[in-house]
């Protein structure tokens, strides 16, 4: 177990080390000529109009919001799904099914609510259903 975890750790670091090594090698080999004009922000050849750090549209936020909830749900269902098999083999499948069904069902209701309230829609078109 610890062995595996160490492995995982090593791989995490490996990514960083590889990137670092390559960048270091590049540092040796690449020209560096940072003129001020070169460092200007690219915007299709035009001088950029204002910083990009501005407030962003809320739509993406709503998506993230819905996601977080469902993400937690998925996290909850995983262990149950793992245990499910044993329950079925033990003949208690129906119980487990009902329990999980209730759990999933409640959240599914949430999804339907969000859907019905059209919060998943990007743009709302006037006079057009759904």
């Amino acid at each position: 177990m610890n062995f595996d975890l160490a492995n995982v750790l090593v791989f995490l670091l490996l990514g960083a080390i590889t990137a670092g090594l390559m960048l270091g090698l590049g540092w040796l080999l690449r020209p560096s000529n940072p003129e001020p004009k070169k460092l200007t922000t690219y915007e299709c050849g035009e001088p950029p109009s204002g910083s990009a750090w501005i407030n962003f549209n809320i739509r993406f936020y709503l998506i993230a919001l819905v996601f977080v909830i469902f993400d937690v749900e998925v996290a909850f269902v995983y262990p149950v799904a793992v245990a499910f098999r044993q329950f079925v083999l033990d003949g208690r499948g129906l119980v487990a099914f009902l329990e999980l069904f209730v759990f999933v069902g409640i959240l599914f209701a949430g999804l339907i609510y969000v859907w019905a309230k059209r919060d998943l829609e990007w743009l709302k078109r006037v006079g057009q259903p759904g």
Binding site: E43, C44, G45, E46, P48, S49, G50, A52, I54, N55, F56, N57, I58, R59, F60, W122, L123, K124, R125, V126
Partner: protein
């Protein structure tokens, strides 16, 4: 800005609320999807545009002024550059304007050559158009397939007039070159092979659900709006207006040829949406094949060019001729003052008005839609800027 009392059918409510600041994006002049050097100043709220303000002139090459310097014959190569994607019709427009000024009759064989060249050019142009639409929507393969077929048209045109893109094929009074031996056979062969490819192309991309969804119901232009904004050609026909200069103000030998004018039907969305404009182009290629087949079969004998003096001095006057270029009704306004140089030339092109309408169309669209709209309007930079 008033739109002459026309309401845009599709109003999208931009999400009010959290006052996300308006983000000003420069799209272009160097941007993969602005065909050539167009620029849009996009006022966006996240992904949704409040409006996109076109900024043109990055390819303004003063062609109109040059016509006043190089004379009638010398201007012909420049007309190639007015709309380099389908130069043939520009050649024809200029030639027709001059012929009208000086009342010159073009021999019938010359007219047939012109029609053949123009229709080949139209296919080539529409290929680029539908190809770039595909590319802007994110499918690269249809684009290369379009380029591939264009390559074959280029080969044909090269044989006919010696160049792949800037043909300089027509002359005042006719055409520069007669049809070379074997050309008719090769061209017919191309037409035969090309027609099934249109079907393939349709199945590959036009009917693809994702593609349809990207284009249908996007940027709807109702007929009155299209007319008021002077949209022409496939863009106008996409809105359901059956108008084609070849049919309605007949010129050349088009009245002798049989073809239909495809119009938008709103088959997958609303009449006048981007998909309709796109489909009109697809269908026009088929019609062009039809015309080509007839024209190739019926080339009369005779000269291809009328006698025109080398120093061409038309009588004073003005003409305004219209030809059906690939991007629609192209108007050539030429004022002659009796000298060997035109006093004024003005070229009224389809892309110019198509570009003008974008600001109106873009309201409430998404950034991704903008590229689809540009592509579906088939805007070519030199035509806008000249």
């Amino acid at each position: 800005m008033s739109t002459a009392g026309i309401e845009i059918g599709l109003e999208r409510e931009t999400p009010a609320g959290l006052e996300t600041e308006e983000m000003t994006l420069n799209m272009g002049p160097q941007h993969p999807s602005t065909h050539g050097v167009l620029r849009f100043v996009v006022k966006a709220d996240g992904e949704v545009m409040r409006r996109a303000i076109p900024d043109i002139g990055y390819l303004h090459r003063s062609i109109e002024k040059i016509s006043e310097k190089v004379g009638y014959h010398g201007f012909m190569p420049y007309t190639d550059r007015v709309d380099y994607v389908s130069a043939m019709q520009c050649n024809q427009g200029w030639a027709m304007a001059c012929e009208k000024l000086a009342s010159i009759e073009v021999p019938r064989r010359g007219e047939y050559c012109r029609v053949i060249a123009c229709e080949l050019g139209r296919i080539a142009s529409h290929l680029i158009s539908v190809g770039t639409t595909g590319m802007d929507i994110g499918a690269f393969t249809p684009f290369t397939h379009a380029l591939r077929e264009r390559e074959r048209i280029n080969n044909l045109l090269e044989e006919l007039c010696g160049a792949r893109l800037t043909f300089n094929y027509m002359r005042i009074g006719g055409c520069a070159w007669d049809i070379p031996p074997g050309f008719v056979k090769r061209a017919s062969e191309f037409v035969e092979q090309f027609e099934p490819l249109i079907d393939e192309y349709n199945e590959l991309i036009s009917f693809n659900k994702i593609y349809v969804e990207r284009l249908a119901n996007v940027a709807i232009v109702p007929a009155e709006m299209a007319i008021a904004w002077n949209l022409v050609g496939p863009n106008l026909r996409g809105s359901g207006v059956k108008y084609d200069v070849r049919k309605d103000v007949p010129y050349s030998v088009y009245p002798e040829l049989e073809f239909d004018v495809p119009v938008g039907t709103g088959e997958r969305g609303t009449l006048g949406d981007s998909y309709d404009r796109y489909m009109v182009r697809m269908n026009e290629m088929k019609e062009s094949c039809r015309i080509l087949r007839q024209a190739l079969g019926g080339i009369p004998e005779g000269p291809v060019i009328a006698k025109v003096p080398r120093t061409f001095k038309p009588p004073p006057g003005e003409v305004y001729v219209r030809v059906e270029a690939s991007r629609g009704d192209m108007g050539w306004f030429v004022v002659s003052d009796g000298t060997a140089f035109p006093a004024r030339t003005h070229i009224r092109t389809g892309s110019f008005s198509a570009m003008a309408i974008i600001e109106e169309l873009s309201k409430g669209l998404m950034i991704a839609d903008l590229v689809a709209v540009i592509a579906s309007l088939d805007i070519v930079a030199p035509e806008v800027d000249r």
